[in-house]
Structures are given as structure tokens and as C-alpha cells.
């Protein structure tokens, strides 16, 4: 059955042509293999850079998730703070020297330290805001504990750094921020189990501060959220209306061409220029408040507009014209065709464009600096016109600070920012999926 069948062989000329193709083939396959390798190399390089970046940020910042505290025993003099009826008098509480109370109690434990300079060095172990924190705690509680109590109080950022191994004890004394004497005290406290590391909730509940141990990212986060809220509110409807007009109503001609070219140019304008514009127009001309998330949001909206317009136009064009024709053929007006059929179909694309624009805006620093959102602000903003800062600006401010403790907080703030970005992107993907299923 397996008899070889006599088959017709191609003639010599054809044979030669095949051979020539076959010879070249090796080279062609090698070329595509090479290209594939380059591609893989490029991806690996990109991913490793990303990995290095993330590792650096995390290794610099993860310690900021904890804060060093010190246990102190003290008695709060109720008679100096209370009214006759036993309630805390707010004026008395404000005027009371809480820091003095804590320092005195702390010094009392080191009775051998008497020299003025040494006593000051001892005080430097405690946070400068320890007194303020304690007052807040007591006020929140509403009553004053009787007798001697044991309290955990934040240490200064230098002690915090030492405990986290970010301050090198082997350095020459003149080179480090804690003296041998101070390190000796701290070691004895550690030996007594009176120093601990706890979760740094302040970081997530406070705004900026001069003291790293009291500084938090909430103020900047709220500032960013408010600004982005304004950005979406302004940019999305404006951009969609512009895109619909340009796609459906604009009469073809020079004016339309001019507008189109300029929208594309606008997308390429450096963001700081928008900041300058905001400074000149919103602050200078309209006299709007400095450092306000409202103005920040308006500037970011200007910056985001072209991105959303371009994305919206692209997704409008991606909707098949047959759908538009169907609607118009039924007697729908252009606006009805756009709103009832085109925009819903274009929505996933518009959404993606918006989120890309907003993500850009979230990471933007320069224009916000121009309109004063770079100020040092210790309160979490409550309204759109309150002075505020934004996450990337906060990162910039902290990374520029001398204190090592601010630097680690800066890295943790970067992680917060990245978390926001990733959350936004994931929700964009989910929303898009949901939309696509519906249609």
C-alpha cells in the first residue's frame, strides 16, 4: 500500500527559485527572532526599572507606617484646668503649659541630669507637639484622670529615626543629630521597655506640620480630591459638548480647522503654562483666593480639557456611521442622535479618556505651585475655597525637607498617591466593562 507514487517534480527553473527563497528564509526568520528578542529585552528593562522604582519607594517609605512612642508617668493637675463644677475650662486648658508638664515629669525620672544644657538635650527626646497632643487627648475625653497615669507620648523624629535604624550610631557624634548622651538615655528607656513602635495613625488623619511626627497626608489628599472634583465637574461636560459640536455641528471651514489645530496644540502645552494662566486670570483678574482647591481644579480642568476632547472625538468617530444614519433616517435631530445613540456608545472611550486626564491631573505639581497650593497648611480643608495643598505638592515639599523623617513620609505619600492612581485605573476598567456589557 505504501508504494511511493511517481510524482511530477517542478522543473529546474522553479526548483532554483524555491531554493533561492529557502536560502533567504533563514535570514528572514533570524531577523524576526532578533526583533522578538529586542522586544522582550525592552519589556524586561522597563519592568525592572519599574521594580527598582517601586522597591526604592517602598523601602524608603514603609517605616513611616510606624511611629515611636515613649511611656511617661505623670499627674495632671486637675485644679488648674477645671471650673468649679468639675468641667474642663477651655481657656485654662489652652493656656496651661502641657509641654512643661510632660517635660518636668520626664526630667524627674532622670534626677541625675541637672545641667541646663543636659536637661534641654533630655527634652529633645520628646516630640515638640507632645503637649498639644496630650491636651487634645484630654479635651476629647472630656475629663481629667485622677492621680498618676502612664501615658504613651510621641518621641521626636530623631529618636524615631534611631529606633527605625535610619540614624547611624557609628557616625561621629558631631555628624549625627543625637548625641552619645541622648542615645544612652534612649537605650536605657528601651531596656526598661518604655519605648515602642505603633501604627502611625497621625499620618492618615492630619495635615502638614513642622514636626514630622505630627505631619499627615489627609490635608493634601482632601485638597487633591476637591481639586479633582472641580476638574471633572468642569472638564467633562465642557469637553464632551465641545467634541459633539466639532463632530456634528461645526460647519467645515477655516474657523473649525483653526479650533481643531489649537485643541491639539493645547494638549502639548507644558502644564506650568496653565499654572501661569491660572495665576494671571483666576487670581489676578478675577481675584479668586490663593491656594484654593477650586482654583486648582479650574487650572487642572483647562489642562485636562484637550485630553478629554481628543478622546471623546476619537470614540465618537469610532461609532459606526450607520448608527447615526439610522437615527437621522428616523427623523431624530442631530442632538438626539448624539445623545440617544452616539454618546452612550462612545461612553466607554470617553470614560477612559477622562480617567487618563484625571490621572494626569492628580499627578500634576507645577500648575498648582503657581497658584499657591504649595503653601504650608496645617488644617484639612473643609470647603473648596479653603487654602489647601495637593498630594504631589505635599510629596514635593516633604522630599525637600532636611529631616530624614519627612523623607520617609514623602515616600509613604508617594505610595498613597500610587494607590489612588491604581484604584482609579481599576475602577475605570471595571466601569468600562460594565458599560460594554450593557451595549
Amino acid at each position: 500500500m505504501n508504494n511511493p507514487i511517481e510524482m511530477i517534480q517542478p522543473d529546474a527553473k522553479t526548483q532554483a527559485r524555491f531554493e533561492k527563497i529557502a536560502q533567504g528564509l533563514k535570514k528572514r526568520h533570524a531577523a524576526s527572532r532578533r526583533l522578538k528578542t529586542y522586544g522582550i529585552m525592552a519589556i524586561v528593562t522597563a519592568i525592572s526599572f519599574l521594580a527598582i522604582l517601586l522597591t526604592t519607594i517602598i523601602s524608603n517609605g514603609y517605616t513611616a507606617i510606624q511611629q515611636t512612642e515613649l511611656q511617661i508617668a505623670l499627674t495632671i493637675p486637675a485644679e488648674k484646668l477645671q471650673n468649679d463644677d468639675g468641667t474642663i475650662d477651655p481657656v485654662k486648658a489652652r493656656n496651661f503649659n502641657w509641654n512643661g508638664l510632660i517635660k518636668k515629669a520626664f526630667r524627674a525620672e532622670f534626677s541625675d541630669v541637672t545641667a541646663m544644657l543636659d536637661q534641654r538635650a533630655l527634652g529633645e527626646i520628646l516630640s515638640k507637639n507632645a503637649g498639644y497632643d496630650l491636651r487634645r487627648q484630654i479635651e476629647a475625653k472630656g475629663s481629667i484622670p485622677v492621680g498618676e497615669i502612664k501615658l504613651w507620648i510621641k518621641t521626636s523624629d530623631d529618636v524615631d529615626m534611631l529606633m527605625k535604624g535610619r540614624l547611624d550610631r557609628n557616625l561621629d557624634e558631631s555628624q549625627r543629630r543625637l548625641s552619645d548622651q541622648q542615645i544612652g538615655w534612649i537605650d536605657s528607656l528601651v531596656a526598661d521597655d518604655r519605648i515602642r513602635l505603633v501604627f502611625n495613625d497621625t499620618f492618615f488623619t492630619a495635615a502638614d506640620s513642622r514636626e514630622p511626627e505630627s505631619a499627615g497626608v489627609l490635608g493634601a489628599t482632601v485638597g487633591s480630591a476637591m481639586a479633582l472634583f472641580v476638574t471633572v465637574l468642569l472638564a467633562l461636560p465642557l469637553a464632551v459638548m465641545t467634541a459633539v459640536y466639532l463632530e456634528y455641528f461645526a460647519p467645515p471651514g477655516r474657523v473649525t480647522d483653526f479650533i481643531e489645530v489649537n485643541i491639539n496644540n493645547l494638549a502639548a502645552v507644558p502644564s506650568i503654562v496653565f499654572g501661569l494662566l491660572g495665576l494671571a486670570v483666576f487670581l489676578g483678574f478675577f481675584g479668586m483666593p490663593r491656594s484654593a482647591p477650586l482654583v486648582g481644579g479650574m487650572v487642572l480642568a483647562l489642562m485636562t480639557l484637550p485630553t478629554i476632547i481628543i478622546a471623546t472625538r476619537a470614540s465618537i468617530r469610532a461609532v459606526p456611521t450607520s448608527i447615526r444614519d439610522a437615527a437621522l433616517g428616523l427623523g431624530a435631530s442631530r442632538m438626539q442622535a448624539a445623545i440617544d445613540h452616539i454618546l452612550p456608545l462612545a461612553a466607554p472611550g470617553i470614560l477612559t479618556g477622562t480617567i487618563i486626564g484625571i490621572a494626569q491631573a492628580l499627578g500634576e505639581t507645577a500648575p498648582l505651585i503657581m497658584i499657591g497650593m504649595v503653601a504650608f497648611i496645617v488644617d484639612v480643608p473643609a470647603t473648596l475655597t479653603d487654602p489647601a495643598t495637593a498630594l504631589p505638592v505635599q510629596i514635593y515639599i516633604w522630599s525637600d525637607s532636611a529631616e530624614r523623617a519627612f523623607y520617609e513620609r514623602s515616600s509613604l505619600a508617594i505610595m498613597v498617591l500610587l494607590t489612588f492612581l491604581i484604584t482609579m485605573n481599576i475602577s475605570a476598567v471595571l466601569l468600562r466593562r460594565k458599560f460594554e456589557k450593557k451595549w
Binding site: G329, L330, L345
Partner: protein
């Protein structure tokens, strides 16, 4: 003699000296035609001769194409189609259109048919709208197939069903003229014959203008046939005459398959 009088129908639409330009390029050249009421008029001719362009003149769909200019007069009753005073929205409510490729909205079957009555505010209540949808689907011969799945996506229907849905959608607005641009070109032979039967039925109620590249189809469904060549109307007459005794040699060449 009586029968001849009976057969001559009233004129529904009269087009006179219609010229259409795409930019500098002229696509239609002095086309004049009288369209009979409640009959099927077929436009045939080689590809690119301007059949679709002409069809789109009747409901001003050429307005949508920025480079397109239409000259000449098209009268439908006392409505001057090309007059700037004529609102294309109103016009398109009177003249329905079915496109070459079935183009249902990516919505439910019900929503597709209900859209027209809804935008024109034709139904006062939900039940009235339901009735309109049912009636239109029945007229389009689709009711039996979709009655129990009106809430399904229209895009899930077969090509032929989608095209009949598009016909139902056009009928729902209550037009008296239907424009069909090669409605069967994307369909298989069975779906095609279903639509052809439907066209013959619809002819009782509507004036139908149909573009087709299939001469058999023109012969089967139409009473009048217009043959276009390079933007001019070469021959127009009763379908049986055009197909059996073409007066023009170009028509004859096309019909006998020499040009196509």
C-alpha cells in the same frame, strides 16, 4: 380601456432636474422622474452610477455629507423637499429609510421600534406605544419571531431579522414613503425572498423606492424601473417593458449582463 385607467396611479413624488455634486464632482445629471403612489419603483444600474445618491435626495440624507450639494426640485405633494423652509426632521418622519447593511441600534428589539414614535411624541401612553411596536413588527412580518423576546438585544437577531426590524422601525413612525438602499445585499437567498415578499405586501400601504443591484429582484418586486448610467437617468418605465423591450441600448447591455 377601463383597466388601463385603473392601472395608472397618482403621482406621489415628482423630481425635476436634480443635480448632485460631491465637491467639484458631479454625481447626478439633470435627473427628472415621477414616482407613482403605492407602487414599487426600482433604481438599477452599474455600481457608482448614483442610485444611492439619488435615493438619499428624497429624505435629504445627503445633508449629512459636508461636501454634497443638491440642486433641482423634488416635490412630494405640496412639500418642496429641497426648500430651506422644509425641516429635514419632519421630512424624515414622512419618508422612512432602510439601509444597505442592517443597522439596528444596539438596544433591545422593543427599544429599536419604539425609538421613532418616542422622539416624535406619537404615543400618549405605554400601552399605545406597545400597540405601535406590535403593529409595526406585524407589518414587517417579524412579530411571530420576536413576540416573546422583545427585551432581547436586537443585535442578537439574524441578518434577515435585523433588516426586517429596521423596516419595522421605519414603519413605526408612520411614513407613507419608504426608501430602501439595496436592503437585501447583505442577506442570504432565503432572507432575501422573505424581504421581497414583505416589500410586495408593504406596497399596498407605502410608496416604495428601492435600489437594487439584482435585476431579478427588480423584476420580481417593482412595477416601475429606472435605469441609471454615470449619473444620468437613461431609461424609466414599467418594469416589464424595461426588462423585455428596453428602448436604450445601454439598458439592454446592462440587462443582458454586458455591463455590470
Amino acid at each position: 380601456m377601463d383597466t388601463v385607467v385603473d392601472m395608472a396611479k397618482a403621482i406621489k413624488i415628482q423630481a425635476k432636474d436634480v443635480n448632485v455634486f460631491y465637491g467639484e464632482k458631479q454625481a447626478l445629471n439633470n435627473v427628472s422622474i415621477d414616482i407613482e403612489d403605492r407602487s414599487v419603483t426600482a433604481f438599477i444600474g452599474p455600481s457608482g452610477c448614483g442610485k444611492s445618491t439619488f435615493l438619499r435626495c428624497f429624505n435629504r440624507m445627503n445633508d449629512v455629507i459636508p461636501s454634497c450639494r443638491v440642486k433641482g426640485s423634488i416635490m412630494m405633494g405640496d412639500v418642496d423637499v429641497n426648500s430651506p423652509q422644509t425641516d429635514p426632521v419632519l421630512l424624515r418622519a414622512r419618508i422612512g429609510m432602510v439601509f444597505q447593511k442592517p443597522n439596528p441600534f444596539p438596544k433591545t428589539i422593543f427599544e429599536n421600534v419604539a425609538y421613532g414614535p418616542r422622539i416624535h411624541g406619537l404615543a400618549q401612553s405605554k400601552t399605545e406605544l406597545d400597540d405601535m411596536v406590535e403593529d409595526s413588527l406585524k407589518k414587517a412580518g417579524l412579530w411571530g419571531e420576536v413576540a416573546d423576546r422583545l427585551a432581547d438585544q436586537a443585535t442578537g437577531l439574524s441578518g434577515g431579522q435585523q433588516q426586517r426590524l429596521c423596516i419595522a422601525r421605519a414603519i413605526a413612525v408612520g411614513p407613507d414613503v419608504l426608501l430602501m438602499d439595496e436592503p437585501c445585499s447583505a442577506l442570504d437567498p432565503i432572507a432575501t425572498s422573505v424581504i421581497e415578499e414583505l416589500i410586495s405586501e408593504l406596497q399596498q400601504r407605502f410608496t416604495i423606492l428601492i435600489v437594487t443591484h439584482s435585476m431579478q429582484q427588480a423584476a420580481r418586486v417593482s412595477q416601475k424601473t429606472a435605469y441609471f448610467h454615470l449619473g444620468t437617468l437613461v431609461e424609466y418605465g414599467d418594469t416589464k417593458d424595461v426588462f423585455t423591450l428596453p428602448k436604450n441600448e445601454q439598458t439592454e447591455a446592462y440587462i443582458s449582463g454586458k455591463i455590470g
